[in-house]
Symmetry: C2
Subunit: 218 residues, 2 copies
Amino acid sequence: MPIQWNLSASEIEQKSFRIIEEEVKNTPLAMLPNPAWKIARRLIHTTADLHIADTLTFSCSPIQAGIDALMQARPIFCDSKMIRSGLSLQKLQTINPLYSEKHILCSISDSDVIQRAKQENRTRAICAVEKNKDKLNNAIILIGNAPLALAKICQYVLEEQVKPALIIGMPVGFVNVVEAKELLTSCAVPYISLLGRRGGSALAVTTLHAIMENILEK
Amino acid sequence: MPIQWNLSASEIEQKSFRIIEEEVKNTPLAMLPNPAWKIARRLIHTTADLHIADTLTFSCSPIQAGIDALMQARPIFCDSKMIRSGLSLQKLQTINPLYSEKHILCSISDSDVIQRAKQENRTRAICAVEKNKDKLNNAIILIGNAPLALAKICQYVLEEQVKPALIIGMPVGFVNVVEAKELLTSCAVPYISLLGRRGGSALAVTTLHAIMENILEK
């Protein structure tokens, strides 16, 4: 097929969604209720992998919890700079004009975090969680990279009664990732996860954007 | 397996690489020469998908071209803010201390680009390429999102003798993506691509980081 030069971004998105819907129509994904399907569709759209959403897991009404938290302009903690730069502040502000850069908590490159991780020979991701511990209650948590950041947050939930509004737990990789997600499944808080090794910053971001769609398209 | 809390970032990386090597040892990927294998390994590490590198394609000695361009502190054009924030300026500066934020060209959120895309009902990604046209000669190009950005650059190469130092062509998605990558394969410039629909900002970034490894580990 020749390149279709004259499509706008929204036309490309709509066309992509139609292709995805056509290609998954005979799979279990097609049975998802609409708000969950919006997330699965965006995960597929972001990766072009028709199987990426096969292990998508929801617990404790996380979509509604996310909608409520966004409408109250709750802070958003993220474990990577890629998540921070991928998040649409414009969309956040459409949902609640109070949202500003300050609401997006990302300490992974703070000099004190870098120094502490080096001194203690631990990961920057854990130190960044520890630095923000007192801001995690009622926050939206986006983990797309670091399993130990997710594990640390689960520890706070399980042992110290920290209660995030929503955890999007999608770290990626071969070490500690499956284990951190298993720990998440024992937490009685709203969460959305991709069980197994798969995940990524783009996937965590797109999941929150899909939740926003549920507000913006109403 | 319990969470392994006391691993440093580099220990986690080395352990992940050993797992990946073990799991692909009887596949064609294991036959790749070392500099190419470093890229395949990082693509797998970034996605936790053992098949992500199956369509990895190299043309015109792109790894050496990338090394040369990095050592000369050539500018790096990227099509998304996620790529810009994922790129390690620190690693770039280790290779050539001349590297600064100014060398990373990303116009996707410039107000003139946004305005022009809206007026002309085209994508911001194409308008961002057009804005930087005179900076693409000898530049390193990273495309991890927008197929039309890649297609536009290919058009400049094929029709206007623009000569990037290296194109990392990894847009992702269902519309124009396969076609843009096919156009790339007709360009006689150094490129690295993932043929098919798969790609992403994290994949484009990690490919450049893998090329840097070839310099930093010497």
